[in-house]
């Protein structure tokens, strides 16, 4: 879902850079409050894992692929602010070193995947906290991950439409029809990854203690 250079107009570029800079700036303050120094390696390893997992495109249907976004994974483990910083770091590396996502679209990509993706996941995950029944945790993670992809793609659609690249209605139908399916992949991979990470004894310390 990385927007390349050439898809966004100047107004949208400036607007998304401003939004993302504000969100990441505030996210840095919140992360400082919520995490402690012992969790520095956790940030590094989660970013590394998400970078690696994003490289592995999985085929869906009709000659289209998807890949993990990772915002839900980071948001479930560390909360939405730390997640938005992790995803932003991954996106900056991908843009500068691997030509994945344009420099002019970096603000938009950070906003869509880092901010919208992280918060969509976190809100759904939190909203489903009171869901009754056993084994509901996997469903919560799945639903949060699915929503993160669908809402991030909705944000991308809005930016493309605002830029005059493509009419909103047409882009909306096309983008949703793929991302509701890609979101299922995100849900399955994230649920498996979170349970693996918890099984090997990874504890996102401070957040769990505070909650």
């Amino acid at each position: 879902m990385h927007i390349p250079d050439g898809f966004l107009d100047t107004g949208t570029i400036v607007g998304t850079y401003v939004l993302s800079a504000g969100a990441v700036g505030y996210g840095i303050r919140k992360t400082r409050e919520e995490l402690n120094e012992r969790q520095i390696p956790v940030l590094g390893v989660l970013a590394a894992f998400i970078f690696a997992a994003q490289m592995v495109n999985f085929p869906i249907i009709g000659g289209t692929s998807g890949h993990l976004l990772g915002a839900a994974l980071a948001a479930v483990l560390l909360g939405p602010w730390a997640s938005s910083i992790i995803i932003s770091t991954v996106l900056i590396i991908q843009c500068l070193f691997f030509q994945d996502g344009g420099l002019t679209a970096l603000g938009g990509n950070i906003f869509n995947m880092g901010v919208v993706g992280s918060f969509a996941a976190y809100w759904i995950y939190t909203a489903l906290k009171k869901l009754p029944g056993r084994n509901v945790e996997m469903f919560r993670i799945f639903a949060a991950s699915w929503a993160s992809v669908v809402l991030a793609s909705l944000a991308a659609t809005a930016e493309l439409a605002l830029s005059g690249t493509v009419p909103f209605k047409i882009a909306f139908v096309a983008m949703m029809s793929w991302h509701v399916i890609i979101g299922v992949g995100e849900g399955i991979i994230t649920a498996l990854a979170v349970s693996f990470v918890r099984r090997v004894g990874f504890s996102p310390a401070a957040r769990a203690e505070k909650a």
């Binding site: 590394a48 592995v56 500068l96």
Partner: protein, 96 residues
């Protein structure tokens, strides 16, 4: 680094090096929509910066599998370093 984190880090390197060469080459959701709706060409030649390792293929490596594996492993290390450094700056500098 604690053991669980080390496991996850090594797993990340393994995914990047050994799994990424087998990633689906099909366009992702956005690329597919750009093709179908005919606005893909807007991105052609529009790149602002020239990245050293475009498309996750390490330049000058003959085998495409090895080029992707190298790029993946290197990218994973660089991302770890960047997030670690950024995290250290955020969590140690200016912390009251």
């Amino acid at each position: 680094m604690k053991k669980p984190l080390l496991i996850l880090f090594l797993l990340s390197l393994a995914i990047a090096a050994f799994l990424s060469p087998f990633a689906s080459p099909d366009p992702d959701g956005l690329d597919r929509v750009a093709q179908d709706l005919g606005f893909e060409e807007r991105s052609e030649g529009a790149d602002i910066v020239r990245s050293p390792i475009p498309d996750y293929k390490f330049p000058g490596v003959g085998s495409e599998t090895a080029a992707t594996a190298f790029a993946g492993a290197l990218g994973t290390l660089v991302t770890f370093g960047a997030a670690y450094g950024f995290g250290k700056a955020v969590l140690t500098l200016g912390k009251k």
